[in-house]
Assembly symmetry: C2
Homo-oligomer: 217 residues x 2
């Protein structure tokens, strides 16, 4: 059955790979599943046809036969559950990899989203300069223990998993802030993620959409 995902017609990041379709593309590339992409404009995302797929009017969505999903974490999990390559076989190791998926999205990403909001939506507010260090410290409040736990390991728990895929994707959003570079092992962890051939293919595919050039794949 054909897999179809949605992505921005033009990503707000201009092709830096930070839009959430990159996470889904990466998962599909890791497990070797081909997929089609339907591009949606900002206007179309808020229209009934798209809202029927995604109640919050966002991307990505995932369609396969009569199954329609939204929410990046759930889509990545669905792919990981059905195809080998993103979750370990051992039951306990699998449960721990899923734990890191949720940790990436519900413990590490919220303060990073708050930092993005402070920059994008409150950058012109009178409190911005004084408040920004507080927000950055809340991000460090998550990165400190994450850095301790990772230590000098390559990945968070044994082999690369969907937990690493999401954690690297979440941390990538920090690069422009400079905070990631305060943690050598986390910066190297993110670089390891970006060096994976599947990530590169996913990145190139989303870049091709945003530059209008065909993907080399």
């Amino acid at each position: 059955m054909t897999i179809t995902i949605t992505a921005f017609e033009r990503s707000p990041d201009g092709g830096k790979g930070l839009a959430r379709d990159t996470r889904v593309r990466w998962a599909l590339e890791e497990v070797g599943q081909p997929y089609q992409v339907r591009l949606v404009s900002f206007r179309a995302m808020k229209e009934p046809a798209h809202l029927a797929l995604h109640p919050f009017g966002q991307i990505p969505t995932y369609e396969e036969g009569d199954l329609a999903l939204f929410e990046t974490g759930a889509i990545v999990f669905h792919i990981a559950e059905r195809h080998a390559g993103l979750l370990p076989d051992d039951a306990n190791a699998r449960a721990r990899a899923i734990t890191w998926m949720f940790a990436a999205l519900n413990t590490v990403e919220p303060p990073i989203l708050e930092l993005a909001t402070a920059m994008l939506l409150e950058g012109d507010k009178p409190w911005h300069a004084e408040r920004l260090p507080l927000v950055k410290d809340r991000v460090r409040g998550r990165l400190n223990p994450l850095s301790v736990r990772l230590g000098d390991a390559d990945w968070l728990d044994g082999a690369f998993s969907a937990g690493d895929l999401l954690m690297v994707s979440v941390l990538l959003r920090l690069r422009s802030s400079g905070i990631l570079d305060e943690y050598k092992n986390l910066a190297a962890y993110v670089a390891r993620g970006e060096a994976r051939p599947a990530y590169k293919r996913a990145f190139d595919a989303q870049l091709a959409v945003n530059t209008g050039k065909p993907s080399p794949g």
Copy 2:
């Protein structure tokens, strides 16, 4: 095998049920699994023994035989995957219920966490009064489409699921703000969750810890 979770020795909310152990207690009550609770102090949460279980130094954790998990969403999912009552049998319906789990934690909860942060950590800042309406509007930006999608249904997608358990838990944090009452169907949805016998047992158990009185169960 005995299931052991951790909870606050004294919850910051004084027993309102907003600490995350309530979510795990609720899931265990829904599927009828007995569990033990190990209470941890704020100091003990940041010590090596607890950090080995939970790298971010929080509660709850989940131990069962040689499996140790952290992160509420992952624990609720683990319980839902192993015991009947929180995920539908049909594969597509199951994937959609999991989608709502992630939507609760990664789409709806982040702005609610930001509102909690604004109240708890920035309530004394000079920008608080002017900034608060912006933060509340970002919460409404999620509740508006959620309210539309729920409509007059009892639960988000068919029968009650782990997706509803997490969504109700996330929305409960909004009650003191008054925002929940702006959405009649969401307020009724949360009340339906609270009326479930399993929720009541979970709530009473966490309350007993915080009042020092034994649970009626």
